[in-house]
């Protein structure tokens, strides 16, 4: 009996990443810009979509949504009230979405009717950051009630995000939140990160996020 050491150098999630690349290709072929919307449970992801999607519609940008939850159709039902194509995915236990789930979601959407696809990930500040889905843009929602140290406590999530939405600013006086500290922590992880303080409840600054998305879509079309 002998021992043999073999060099492998292979990515364990190569299959996930291959499917993510396929997803990206399909979305690009249909000229769809896609966003992976992440954040802890109750941070306000669905509430933001409820305010944002009507604004995008006014800008003639048709939306579609893939809703991810462990169980239940609550969020999918809320989004369907906005009269946009929506698919609810239940992971049945997985705490994050993976590329195969997005592939199935894409197969159940009328892609020719969509210009902007939102993937609302499972509420979790840890695992979703580890799994590529094949989207154009990562956005993390962190509400002020979760505290200003979130970027330092969950570095991976914030280091892979293009945008951070600081939600629930309507509660600033009640809760107290040091936005400068939060911003410092976030920028240390990703210097170019875009930070948008927002209130999904009142609608404050939702249009700033809509502006950002519209700019990204235009830039995408130029390239």
């Amino acid at each position: 009996m002998t021992l043999k050491k073999i060099e492998i150098g292979e990515n364990l999630f190569v299959k996930n990443d291959e499917i993510a690349a396929e997803n990206r290709k399909v979305l690009k072929e249909h000229n769809i810009f896609s966003i992976n919307l992440m954040g802890g449970p109750g941070s306000g992801k669905t509430a933001i979509l409820e305010k944002l999607i009507p604004q995008m519609k006014k800008r003639k940008i048709s939306c579609g949504v893939i809703e991810g939850d462990i169980a239940g159709t609550f969020d999918g039902e809320r989004i369907s009230q906005l009269d946009v194509p929506v698919v609810q995915i239940n992971t049945g236990g997985a705490c994050h979405l993976e590329a195969m789930m997005i592939k199935k979601g894409i197969e159940n959407l009328a892609l020719s009717e969509i210009k902007l696809l939102f993937v609302e990930n499972v509420g979790n500040l840890v695992c979703p950051a580890e799994f590529k889905l094949g989207v154009d843009c990562n956005v993390t929602v962190s509400s002020i009630t979760e505290g200003e140290e979130k970027p330092a406590k969950y570095p991976l999530m914030f280091s892979i995000s293009d945008v951070v939405i600081i939600n629930k600013i309507d509660l600033s006086e009640v809760v107290g939140f040091n936005i400068d500290r939060f911003t410092d922590y976030a920028k240390k992880l990703k210097s170019g990160i875009v930070i948008i303080p927002m209130s999904a409840k009142t609608g404050e600054n939702v249009e700033l996020f809509a502006d950002y998305i519209e700019k990204r879509i235009l830039n995408n079309e130029k390239n």
């Binding site: 073999i6 150098g9 292979e10 990515n11 997985a94 799994f131 590529k132 991976l156």
Partner: protein, 86 residues
């Protein structure tokens, strides 16, 4: 929290390697991850032994997890495996 996904993919990879090399067991595996990735080495070993330990290939397999500051994106690279060959 996603040790299950890691273990499923690892078992598949190791089975392929063992078949190719005609190995009778996996002594050790080294995996490199992003410094911020959330994977606990002792948790992973424990769960691996629970899930895959019945397979004679994986009895006593030790998984080592290293963190690489140079990885730009979250990745789980299987660097090398040490095999028992009859």
């Amino acid at each position: 929290m996603h040790e299950m996904s890691v273990i499923e993919n690892l078992v598949r990879l190791l089975k392929n390697v063992c078949e190719k090399e005609k190995a009778t067991g996996v002594v050790s595996v080294q995996i490199t991850i992003h410094p911020f990735s959330c994977l606990d080495e002792s948790n992973l070993n424990f769960m691996f032994s629970c899930i895959a330990g019945d397979n004679p290939l994986f009895k006593g397999t030790k998984i080592r997890v290293l963190r690489n500051k140079n990885l730009q994106e979250p990745e789980y690279i299987v660097d090398n495996v040490e095999l028992e060959i009859e």
